[in-house]
Amino acid sequence: MSSCDVLTEDLLKAALRRRLTAEQRAVVARHLGEPCEACLDLLERWTTEEMITELHASDNLLSWGEQERVFAAASAGAPSGSPALRVVRPERRRRPSLAWGLGTAAIALVALVTVTRPELRDPAQGLKGPQRPTVALVPFVGARTPTPHVIRALASGKAVARGELLLLRIRLATPAWIYLLSQRQGESTELVWPMGVATRHASGEFELAEAGAALAIDPEALGTGAWLIVIASPERIEPGRLRTQESLRTRAEVEEAFPGCGVDLLPIVLEPER
C-alpha cells in the first residue's frame, strides 16, 4: 500500500474539519482530480459515515439528551414487545396543571422501561464529592380523546397543540432523587412531582407516576414561556429549597441554583390560538 505525498491522513482530517487554508484546499482539490492510487488506498480506509461525521464539530452532533429524545420519538412507532401505552382520561385535580391516569396506564408505561446505561457519566463531574447524576427528560405528546393516549414524541423546540397533554419519561444514568419543577414566566418554581415523599431512583428509564397513576401535564395551564425542569440530585432536597424566585432559563442557571445536581429543561411552547 503506497502513501500519497499530497493527501495524508492528517491532511484529510484537516480538510474535512475545514482547517485548510484556501491555498491548501486548492492544492488538494486539484490533486484529487488526478488518478492517484495512493489516495484511493487512503480513502478505502475511511467510511463515508466517518467522513461526513468528521465534517461537523462534535457539538453539532446529538448531545446525550437529544439522543434520548430522538430515540424515544423514533421508537415510539416501532414494534414493541411491551403492552401498548394507554393513558386514561385525565381529570383536573387540585393542581390544574396535572392530570392522573389509572394504575393500568402506569403499569403499561413502566413496562416500557428498558436499557440502563450505568457507564454514562457526566464529564463535568470531578473525582471528589458526590457524583453528579446525568438525567434526560423525554417528552411525549398525548391526546385526551377518545381516551387519553400517547400520540407522538415531542421533538425539540416543537409546539404542543391546544388540548394536548404532556407525558414525561425520565432517563437516569446514575441513581438519584428526582424532582420535577415547573416555572411560569415571572413566577417562582413549583414542585410538580413527586407529590408525596421523594425516593431515590435506580438508574434506567421510567415514567412519572405516583400511587399507580401516570402523570400527564396540561401545558395550557402552564402557558407558553413556562419551563419544566427536572433535577436529579445525589441527595434528598428539602421541598423549601426547590422553590426559588430566580428565573431559570438555561441549564447553567439551573445547575447554579441546584449545585451538584444533574438537570434537564423543557420549554413549553403552545401553538398559537386560532
Binding site: 463515508t48 461537523h56 423514533a74 421508537s75 428498558t114
Partner: protein, 193 residues
C-alpha cells in the same frame, strides 16, 4: 476511525431482533447510525441544526416503524440512508452544488432505492457514468455497471455472471467506492466555507 468492534452483534441480527420489538436491538441500531445520519442531515440542510435534528428523528422514526417491511436485513444501512436522503430531498430547496455533493454522499453510502423518482434515477446513472469515465480497468467497469445499473445486481449475482470470485467483486466495488469518496472530498473542498 470507526470500525466494527469484534464481538459486536451482526447488523442483520440486530435488524431481525429490532423488527420483532426488541428495544435493546432498536437502541443498538440507533446508536450505531445516529452520528452518521445526523451528519448527513446537517450536510443536506447546510448545517441548520434544528432542521437536521428533526430530519434525523423522522429518519429513525420511519426506519424503526417499518423494519418489518425490510426484506433484506443486510441492507439496513443503505435503506436507512435512503430514507434520510428522501426526507432531506423533499425538505427544502438545495442548490446545484449541494445536490451534487449529496448525490455523491448518497452513492457512496450505497443509499439506493428501487422506487426512486425517475429524475433521481437518471441523475444517479449520469453520476456513475461520469465516475466510470475515470476507471480504465474493464473488470472494474463491468462490476460497477452491474452493481449500479438496472436492475441492480447483488455482489453474488455479479460474481456468478462475470465468473469472478465473490471476493474479487467486493474488492473492485470497494475501490470504486473509494473513487466516489475522492469525488465527494473534492466536492466538499470546493464548497464555500
Amino acid at each position: 476511525m470507526i470500525s466494527s468492534a469484534p464481538g459486536e452483534a451482526e447488523e442483520s441480527d440486530l435488524v431481525r431482533s429490532a423488527a420483532g420489538g426488541d428495544r435493546a436491538a432498536q437502541r443498538a441500531l440507533f446508536d450505531r447510525h445516529r452520528d452518521g445520519v445526523m451528519g448527513y442531515c446537517l450536510l443536506a440542510c447546510n448545517r441548520d441544526r434544528e432542521q437536521a435534528l428533526e430530519l434525523t428523528q423522522e429518519t429513525f422514526l420511519r426506519a424503526l416503524s417499518s423494519l418489518q417491511r425490510l426484506k433484506n436485513q443486510d441492507r439496513f444501512r443503505s435503506w436507512l440512508y435512503s430514507i434520510a436522503a428522501n426526507l432531506c430531498r423533499s425538505s427544502g430547496v438545495q442548490d446545484a452544488r449541494r445536490r451534487e455533493l449529496l448525490a455523491l454522499a448518497q452513492l457512496s453510502l450505497d443509499a439506493l432505492q428501487a422506487d426512486d423518482e425517475p429524475r433521481q434515477r437518471e441523475s444517479r446513472i449520469t453520476l456513475v457514468q461520469r465516475l466510470l469515465a475515470q476507471v480504465q480497468d474493464p473488470e472494474v467497469r463491468a462490476v460497477v455497471l452491474l452493481k449500479y445499473g438496472e436492475p441492480e445486481h447483488t455482489t453474488r449475482e455479479i460474481a456468478a455472471r462475470l465468473g469472478l470470485p465473490h471476493g474479487t467483486v467486493t474488492s473492485r466495488l470497494v475501490r470504486f467506492r473509494a473513487a466516489i469518496k475522492r469525488e465527494l472530498l473534492r466536492a466538499i473542498l470546493e464548497e464555500p466555507l
